[in-house]
């Protein structure tokens, strides 16, 4: 009588291989989507380039995102703000024409939100800006981006815990800068 397991295992081999292949496949597909179809960098209604504005022309972030200095939300500039410059600047570019069409119809521009936090997180720009935290610390090198995207590069090394827009980023930064009660849950969740 045969008591060894080996023949039994042999019988199982094809099944085992199938399982392995499927697992590998799943991971592959997931990864492919995550890298080649990033959901965090959508096509905006107007191809606004932070590279041109913040990068090449060195317009300070707070010039347009005025709110950030005094309000929890940084806010997006009103259309009038864009027009303020572009009545003069680069008026011939097709994208600017598009902007002007919005302006003439008195329509707001439906920007798509890229940097989003869950509703139970109450982040305040004000405190961080007043604490002279570089915008790039969380938003990544915006001045180099033609189309805005959630950057997976965090500026301070310790912020590599997982995805930069996870709680880990906030915590590590709050720890390093020894924020008062910085790691108390109620600081962000309320």
């Amino acid at each position: 009588m045969n008591v060894s397991i080996v023949p039994a295992l042999k019988v199982l081999r094809p099944a085992a291989m199938l399982v392995i292949v499927i697992l590998v496949g799943l991971v592959l597909g997931y990864w492919a989507n995550a890298t080649f179809v990033p959901g965090n960098s959508p096509e905006q209604p107007i191809a606004f380039s932070h590279k041109i504005h913040a990068g090449d022309n060195e317009v300070p972030c707070l010039y347009c995102h005025t709110q950030a200095r005094r309000s929890p939300s940084a806010g997006v500039p009103a259309v009038s703000k864009c027009v303020g410059c572009h009545l003069e600047v680069a008026t011939e570019k097709p994208q600017i024409r598009l902007l002007m069409s919005y302006w003439e119809n008195r329509e707001p521009i439906p920007w798509i939100k890229v940097h989003d936090l869950p509703d139970f997180v109450h982040f305040t720009h004000k405190r961080h800006v007043l604490a002279n935290i570089e915008c790039q610390t969380c938003h990544g090198p915006v001045e180099t981006m033609d189309r805005i995207t959630v950057s997976s590069r965090a500026v301070n090394g310790s912020a590599q815990v997982g995805h930069p827009w996870k709680m880990g980023l906030c915590l590590s930064c709050h720890r390093e800068n020894e924020v008062v009660n910085g790691i108390d849950c109620l600081t962000c969740h309320k």
Binding site: F120, H122, R127, D184, C185, L186, T187, H189, K190
Partner: protein
């Protein structure tokens, strides 16, 4: 391993004697039962400030009210000598809170300001805290609540709207406390001044029966009134060491 050492710190702090004395603030409320008329203005104020849903008649009939602060009524004597006393009951923010020990995921804990915190997004809904709370002031979201449009436009953007399966309770209007601290920081003050910030219920109480403030500040109104000889704490025999002091009703 740093994570582990951090965990050990967290663990030790619970056993350190007098740990709670190290708070920056010690938020405290006093309720003068001699002034309380049971008008329930506080209830509506709380409901408006904290996005507390309206559950509807059927759910009410099942006993699933949500108001974070409720007015309890106690009759004494019979007609014609019947007397009625009201007592507002909300989270007592106990310094030795039974609910804090039982939550398996630490969704409710005591923060450095003497607040009994409830972190909605951490809660997994075991409801053990509600069982352990002797004041029965914890309310559970039995389903996702809806606001008939356009009522949702009233919702307070500073307060999270709770989803199903989450426990919730009075927070002493943490969003207002945070804002007051924010303002204090703006003009480089270390502390929030007395009366600078009030929870919705205290702010609206028409008889000024509710007083709120920082116990650490001995000049504060709340410190004075919590040292009134009439002060007592509900269910004090349970040693919950609560942060809400009641002032006895005066018979005259």
């Amino acid at each position: 391993m740093s994570l582990f050492s951090r965990f050990m710190d967290g663990w030790r702090k619970y056993r350190k004697p007098g740990y709670y004395d190290e708070f920056d603030y010690h938020w405290t409320m006093t309720i003068d039962l001699d002034k309380c008329t049971g008008c329930e203005a506080c209830v509506t104020a709380c409901q408006a400030e904290n996005n507390i849903p309206v559950v509807g008649e059927d759910e009410m009939a099942k006993g699933r009210e949500m108001q974070w602060i409720r007015i309890e009524r106690y009759w004494e004597g019979e007609y014609p000598n019947a007397k009625l006393s009201f007592i507002p009951m909300m989270c007592q923010h106990c310094d030795a809170a039974p609910c804090e020990t039982v939550c398996p995921v630490g969704a409710t804990y005591h923060n450095q300001d003497g607040l009994n915190a409830q972190i909605y997004n951490r809660c997994i809904g075991t409801r053990a805290c509600a069982v352990y709370c002797p004041y029965e002031v914890r309310y559970f979201n039995y389903y996702d609540h809806e606001w008939d449009s356009p009522l949702e436009q009233q919702l307070n953007p500073d307060v999270t709207v709770r989803g199903k399966g989450v426990m919730e309770k009075c927070t002493f209007c943490i969003q207002r406390i945070r804002q007051a601290k924010d303002v204090a920081k703006d003009d480089d003050r270390r502390r929030v001044q007395d009366g600078e910030m009030q929870p919705a219920c205290v702010q609206t109480c028409p008889t000024k029966a509710l007083v709120f403030g920082d116990r650490k500040d001995h000049e504060s109104q709340v410190y004075k009134s919590m040292n009134d000889p009439r002060n007592y704490r509900v269910l004090d025999e349970l040693n919950t060491d609560s942060s809400v002091f009641y002032l006895k009703k005066v018979d005259a």
